[in-house]
C-alpha cells in the first residue's frame, strides 16, 4: 500500500485552521460547511427578495420613498427582511470566497471535479452583478454613487456608441426605462444563478445542500440578530446634480469602486479578467499532483447487480447496465471521467466480504491500486505473527490522521484510500482472526476528501446503512474515531480506550499512550 503523501503546505494550513474551529461541534464549524451556508444565504436572498419586490415601488421616483417607508413603518417585518437581504448578500459573498479558497487549497479542481469547479467560477460574476445591482434599486445616494461608478468602469470598453455614463448626467433623475433595466438585472441574474447552481451540484451525489440543523439555525439567528441590532437604512434620495458627501459604505459588496478610484479602470479590468482566467485554467495545471490514480473496476463475475455502490458513490460515477452474460441481471458500470478513485464503492459491495473462501478474494467493484485481496492478505499475515497476540487493528484513511504511525507489535494499522472503502465485514473478520479489538479512524464530520466516506462509515458501523456491521459483533470490541490529518493524538487516545474496553479495565486506569511519530 502506498505511503500517504505529505500534505501540501496550503492544504495543511487550511486543515489546521479548520480543525481549530471545531469548537462546540464540527457541525457548527462554518469552515466545514461553506458551500451549504452560501446556498442557504442564496435562499434567504430569494425569499426576502420576493417579499421586498411585492412591497416596494419599482419606479425611479418612488422606489426610495417606498423602501424607506418599509424600513420605518414596517420595521418588524419588511424592515427586518430588508436588512437580512443585505446581510445575507454580505455573508454569501464572504462564504463563497472562503469556499473557493478551501477547494483551491485542498486541490479540489482537477479531473472529476473540473466541471464543478468551472461552474463555481461562472457563479462569481453572477453573484457580483446581482450584489452590486441591488444597491441601485434603492436609488439613494449610495445607489447613485455605485451606478455611476459602475457605468464609468464599464465604459472602459469602447463597445457602445453611447456610453453608459450619459444616463446619469445633470437631469434630476434617470429614465424609467433604465430603472426597469436595473430591476430586470437584479431579478434575471439570480435566475441565471439557479441554473448555475444546478450545474454546480449536478456531479455531486447527496450534495450537502443544507447545512446541518444547528448551523442552519445559527446562521438564520445571526442574520436576524444583525438585522435587529444594526438595521440597514437608506441614504438621502439620489440627486444627480450633487456628489454624495459621506457614504456608509459596504466594503464587502462594493469594494470594487474605490479600488478603481485608487488604481484605474484598466488595472481593475486586467486584475478581474486575469483572476477569472487563472481560475478557469486551474484545472489544467498539474502542479505537484501525482498522475491520476486508477479508477474503480467492475468484475462482472462478482457483481450481483444490487446497486449499493450506485447509492453510495459520492460523484454519481456508477450506473447500471445490462449484464453481458447473465440474462435479466444488471451490472455496475463506472464512468472513468467522473470517478474520484475513492474506493467507497468497494466498501459498499456485498461481494467484498473477506469471509469468502476463495484463495484470491475478488469483489464486484475494486480499486486496482489497493485491491481488497491485498488488504485481506496483509491483515491475515499481520494477525498471524507471534507478536500479534491480542493485537488491536486500526483501519484509517490516507486523507485523515496518519494511522500507520501507530503501528507497533500489538497494533496493526492499515491505511485505506478512504475509510469508506472498508467493508464492515472486515471488522468481524479481524476479530475472528484473533484481533482483540478494531478501531476505525475516519476524518471528522464534514472533512472527508470525497465528501461522504466518513458519513457512510459511521452509518454502517451504527448499523444504519447497508452493508451494516453485523449485530453479533460485540460493541466493546470495536470503536470509531473521527480525527483530522493533524490529529493522530485523538486516534491514539481512542486506541487506549479501546484497549481498556477490551480488557475490561475502566478508562481511568489507562494511561494515554503517546503517539509514535
Amino acid at each position: 500500500m502506498n505511503a500517504p503523501r505529505p500534505l501540501p503546505r496550503l492544504q495543511a494550513a487550511w486543515a489546521w485552521c479548520e480543525d481549530r474551529l471545531d469548537l462546540a461541534s464540527p457541525r457548527l464549524n462554518p469552515l466545514r460547511h461553506l458551500g451549504s451556508i452560501a446556498l442557504l444565504m442564496f435562499w434567504v436572498l430569494v425569499a426576502s427578495g420576493i417579499y421586498l419586490y411585492a412591497m416596494i415601488d419599482t419606479s425611479v421616483d418612488d422606489a426610495h420613498a417606498s423602501i424607506d417607508r418599509l424600513s420605518r413603518e414596517q420595521w418588524y417585518l419588511g424592515g427586518l427582511l430588508r436588512s437580512m437581504h443585505r446581510y445575507a448578500a454580505d455573508v454569501l459573498v464572504l462564504t463563497t470566497v472562503l469556499h473557493l479558497l478551501r477547494e483551491w487549497s485542498f486541490g479540489r479542481f482537477r479531473r472529476f471535479r473540473a466541471a464543478t469547479w468551472w461552474t463555481g467560477v461562472a457563479l462569481l460574476p453572477l453573484i457580483t452583478v446581482s450584489a452590486i445591482g441591488g444597491f441601485w434599486l434603492n436609488w439613494d445616494q449610495l445607489g447613485q454613487y455605485s451606478a455611476i461608478a459602475t457605468a464609468e468602469w464599464l465604459d472602459w470598453w469602447p463597445l457602445f456608441a453611447s456610453p453608459f455614463t450619459r444616463n446619469f448626467l445633470g437631469a434630476a433623475s434617470i429614465s424609467d426605462r433604465l430603472f426597469s433595466l436595473f430591476v430586470f438585472v437584479h431579478i434575471g441574474v439570480p435566475l441565471l444563478m439557479v441554473f448555475g447552481l444546478w450545474f454546480h451540484l449536478r456531479r455531486l451525489a447527496h450534495a450537502a445542500v443544507w447545512p446541518p440543523r444547528p448551523m442552519l439555525w445559527t446562521m438564520l439567528s445571526l442574520l436576524l440578530g444583525l438585522a435587529a441590532v444594526a438595521p440597514v437604512l437608506s441614504h438621502a434620495p439620489a440627486d444627480l446634480t450633487r456628489v454624495p458627501e459621506v457614504l456608509a459604505y459596504d466594503w464587502i459588496l462594493l469594494f470594487v469602486h474605490p479600488l478603481v478610484t485608487v488604481t484605474s479602470s484598466t488595472a481593475v479590468w486586467l486584475a478581474t479578467l486575469g483572476l477569472l482566467a487563472l481560475l478557469l485554467l486551474l484545472p489544467f495545471w498539474r502542479g505537484a499532483a501525482v498522475a491520476a490514480p486508477a479508477v474503480a473496476e467492475v468484475d462482472p463475475a462478482h457483481c450481483s447487480g444490487c446497486r449499493r455502490c450506485v447509492a453510495d458513490c459520492p460523484y454519481d460515477a456508477i450506473r447500471m447496465v445490462e449484464h453481458p452474460t447473465r440474462r435479466g441481471f444488471a451490472l455496475a458500470e463506472v464512468d472513468a471521467d467522473a470517478c474520484a478513485s475513492c474506493g467507497i464503492c468497494v466498501g459498499s459491495c456485498p461481494s467484498s466480504t473477506p469471509f469468502r473462501s476463495m484463495q484470491h478474494l475478488r469483489t464486484g467493484i475494486d480499486m486496482p491500486q489497493q485491491p481488497i485481496d491485498a488488504l485481506r492478505r496483509a491483515l491475515r499475515e499481520r494477525l498471524g505473527q507471534a507478536s500479534a497476540k491480542s493485537a488491536l487493528v486500526v483501519f484509517g484513511c490516507d486523507h485523515a490522521a496518519p494511522v500507520r504511525a501507530l503501528e507497533a507489535g500489538d497494533v496493526a494499522a492499515f491505511s485505506l484510500i478512504c475509510s469508506g472503502m472498508l467493508p464492515p465485514s472486515f471488522i468481524e473478520y479481524a476479530l475472528r482472526d484473533g484481533a482483540a479489538g478494531v478501531l476505525v479512524a475516519t476524518c471528522r464530520d464534514g472533512g472527508c476528501a470525497f465528501r461522504l466516506g466518513q458519513r457512510w462509515t459511521a452509518q454502517r458501523l451504527a448499523r444504519e446503512r447497508e452493508p451494516a456491521l453485523r449485530a453479533t459483533v460485540p460493541t466493546e470490541k470495536f470503536a470509531c474515531v473521527a480525527a483530522g490529518p493533524g490529529d493522530i493524538l485523538a486516534v491514539s487516545e481512542a486506541l487506549a480506550r479501546l484497549r481498556a474496553q477490551t480488557t475490561g479495565e475502566t478508562r481511568s486506569q489507562v494511561a494515554v499512550e503517546s503517539p509514535a511519530r
Binding site: 446581510y87 454580505d90 464609468e152 456608441a161 446634480t241 456628489v243 466594503w251
Partner: protein, 168 residues
Amino acid sequence: MSSQAARWIGQIVLYAAFAAAIAVLSQWPEYRPVAADQALLKVSFLHHGQRLQACVEQTPQELAKLPPNMRAPTRCPRERSPVTVEVELDGSLVYRQTAAPSGLSRDGTASVYRSIPVTAGAHRVHVRIRDSARSEGFDFEHEGVVQFDPLQVRVVDFSAEQGGITIR
C-alpha cells in the same frame, strides 16, 4: 471551567465576532467619494465629426459607369473626423481628448466622457471643440465664469444643433 464549556464559549465568541465583522464592514469605515470642498465638472457629449473628405461631384462619365439606381450626383466618403475637446480651468489646460468616431467604418458618433474634480468656488472655464480634420483650429468655443458649490456636479454638454457648448 470544563473544557466543553470553554469550547461553547469559544464558539459563541467566534460567531459574535463574525457577526460584528459583517455589521462593521457593511457600513464602516464611511467613504467620501470626493473631498468636502470639491465639486465635479463632467464633460460628456456625443457628436458626429465632419466628414473626413469632402463630397465630390461625379462627372457624367463616372455616373454612366454606375448602375442606374446608384447614380447620385455627389459621392460622399462615409468616414468622419475625430473630435477633439480641450478644457481650460483658470487658464490652465486640465483635459484634452481626441475621440475617434465609433463604428467599423468610422462613420459613427465620437463620444467623450470625463469627470474632472474642481475645488469649489468660481472658476473661469474655457471649452473648445474641433470636429473637422479638413480645417485648422477649433470649430466651437465657450468661455465663462462658473460657480461651483461644494459637491456640486456641473456638466459640459455639446450639441451642434442646439446652441453648441453649454455648461449647466
